[in-house]
Symmetry: C3
Subunit: 287 residues, 3 copies
């Protein structure tokens, strides 16, 4: 029986990237739709759950993507609501690749590295930054700071994370290179999650910092997020600091993404979100 | 050579359900389009018929679906017009699942049951009700009544059925529970084809009726169309009446749907509509 | 590893024809999008090139189609711009089938026929006519005339072809049957590339012409482009002239199209346009 994936995308045109990864994870055929909202998703979910008998339902699964994370999470909720008890299929939620990317980022940072009692500063508070903060707190970091150029935004995000996950993250502002350098002074780990093609950590922000042990960056498009970092860096030491670049992280992200898609077909009732995707990532060798 | 299915849907987003069934029937790849009309369908049909040589044309087929039955039938006509003589492919027309559902419904009702000289009342006059009426007349029912909440509508439908199929169906009105009960008094078979989540046969309409032998309902969403009926009922007797629920019918519908799709690839020149789909359904064991 | 094809179409609904041919060429799965422009194509190209490692990139490829040749060529340019150095995939550009059709047409005309020092008249100056002119000049025809009903248009096209390919083609006007007959007087090869269902070479234009050796027509829909020609004609002689009809050309076009698609997966860095597709066509036996 074919492994089918219903790819639901909140963008107008469904993601090519996510579909290629799904095929590489062993999916036989994808039924892909763009322009999906919480209001039009129900018939597609019910079309999927009512076609195969309960014994075979695990061969049907749903992937929810899209560049708008909030819209995709809202589709995820509507998908759950469209199920009838155990007449359901497994779902993976990875809008904009945020869950798999953040999991890859954190797993790379933790390669042979004990985060316990370490202070982390995350420059950028988008979905990847938020999820990275979540995973690092759960892994035992003593302090995780998340920044944006506007302190009101970072405070809002910290409040939401407290509400959603019951965790303590600290809000900060990263309006200037000086403010970033000041935040990093006693940090052990610095993570760049800023917009593409913006260097949020120029050399003066980290070069004379003796506390810093790890720097990671998810920006793949030049100029990169961190001066002197290269996209292929995979734990290489420069000035006594380990560097992880976007392609090293991206390659590991792909492994997590594929393994998560494969897991969908193990049973018919999983819901893979940030937490469960991170658990899957922990099963993969990160060295 | 791959078995390809061109799935043409008059809805904006093509049906997931129909695509899953097609894969389960052995189709290798589906080319699916939503928003299909009689005015934009021609190039797709000609794209399909002109790619493979006549010997191989039977590996290309067309499925036409969509929730608007009239629009889908009009696409079906346009598809026929787009063929060039024997340069054609097989087509299955099953808008909103109406042909396969009605065929399953009637085949279930006829399980070890002789309809000859029996009176049937169908509450609801949508596409499934109309097709069920057609099949039951053809199978020898002495009287088939089809109802709607508005007698003008049922009369129109009866007139159209006379025109299209040359059969006699009787129009009635089902505006109240009392009118339904009155219609059922000397009926042997009662079929609920009303809208989803509306009970069109509450208990008082059938409980003290000694003539009734079979009750069937295609509504899967609670409240169901018939009081005391359950979706899994597959011929179980209650108060001396055999009950058929939407899931028992739906599971059989799926078998018919799959077999019809498989039949498409037997030759390149079939047109599976209500009549031919019912003939396919008769080849499947309905017990 | 699956052979994936990203089918990018500038038409609203992606071509069915091109997808069937791709499947017949051995593609495992197609990711097809309509409504593609140079402005929305980049994320899809990057989604494709960043999913598989360089060793495996050759299993991803792109096809660009659409009835608007200029729009599709502009998408082709945008696709090239979206690549990152050697992080790229092979691309086939065949808007409206123009490259494969023109290649098939010219290869058929050249079946056991030496074009050196021969004069060719092409009635119609659309994409197929233009590409046929290009190939025939390259193959050594001494004079290639391309016509339209408006001399200004043919002159513009001749100027563009000079600019794009550095070749000399002669512009002419084909406003009436008399003007066509006059153009053909000392021609050896006459090619009909006019609109569908328009006879651009009625009998009086060629019947008493002793110079003509080959007539070809790409119009498959009656009335055909050339009187007395039939779509299945594959080099048959009538009045001492070899005839090639649209289906004979079309069948060969399909072979070229399939072989071009197959070639895409030989390496990850090809760009198949009119020139390279013609080179592929030359490898196929045209008898």
């Amino acid at each position: 029986m074919k492994k089918l994936l219903l790819h639901l995308d909140t963008d107008a045109i469904p993601s090519t990237f996510d579909q290629v990864v799904a095929y590489d994870a062993g999916v036989d055929n994808i039924i892909a739709y763009g322009g999906i909202t919480r209001d039009n998703v129900t018939p597609h979910v019910q079309g999927l759950i009512f076609t195969r008998t309960s014994k075979n339902l695990k061969n049907n699964a749903i992937f929810i993507g899209g560049s708008n994370v909030t819209a995709s999470e809202s589709v995820g909720q509507a998908v759950k609501n469209a199920f009838f008890g155990q007449t359901r299929v497994s779902v993976m939620l990875d809008p904009n690749g945020s869950n798999t990317t953040a999991a890859a980022l954190v797993r790379k940072v933790l390669t042979n590295y004990d985060i316990t009692n370490r202070k982390v500063v995350i420059i950028g508070s988008g979905p990847v930054g938020q999820r990275a903060a979540l995973f690092l707190v759960k892994e035992g970091a003593s302090e995780v700071i998340i920044t944006s150029r506007d302190i009101t935004r970072s405070k809002n995000i910290v409040r939401q994370m407290k509400q959603s996950y019951g965790i303590e993250v600290i809000a900060a502002e990263s309006r200037s290179d000086e403010s970033v350098a000041a935040l990093l002074i006693d940090a052990h780990v610095a993570i760049a999650c800023g917009p593409a093609s913006v260097c949020v950590m120029p050399k003066q922000t980290w070069i004379n910092n003796d506390n810093l042990q790890v720097i990671a960056d998810v920006n793949a498009l030049p100029p990169l997020g961190v001066a002197d970092l290269e996209v292929m860096d995979d734990g290489i030491e420069k000035n006594g600091i380990r560097f992880y670049g976007a392609i090293a992280i991206g390659n590991f992200k792909m492994k997590i993404h594929r393994k998560a898609i494969q897991s969908l077909y193990d049973s018919h009732d999983q819901f893979l979100d940030e937490t469960t995707i991170y658990a899957i990532a922990k099963q993969i060798d990160n060295t």
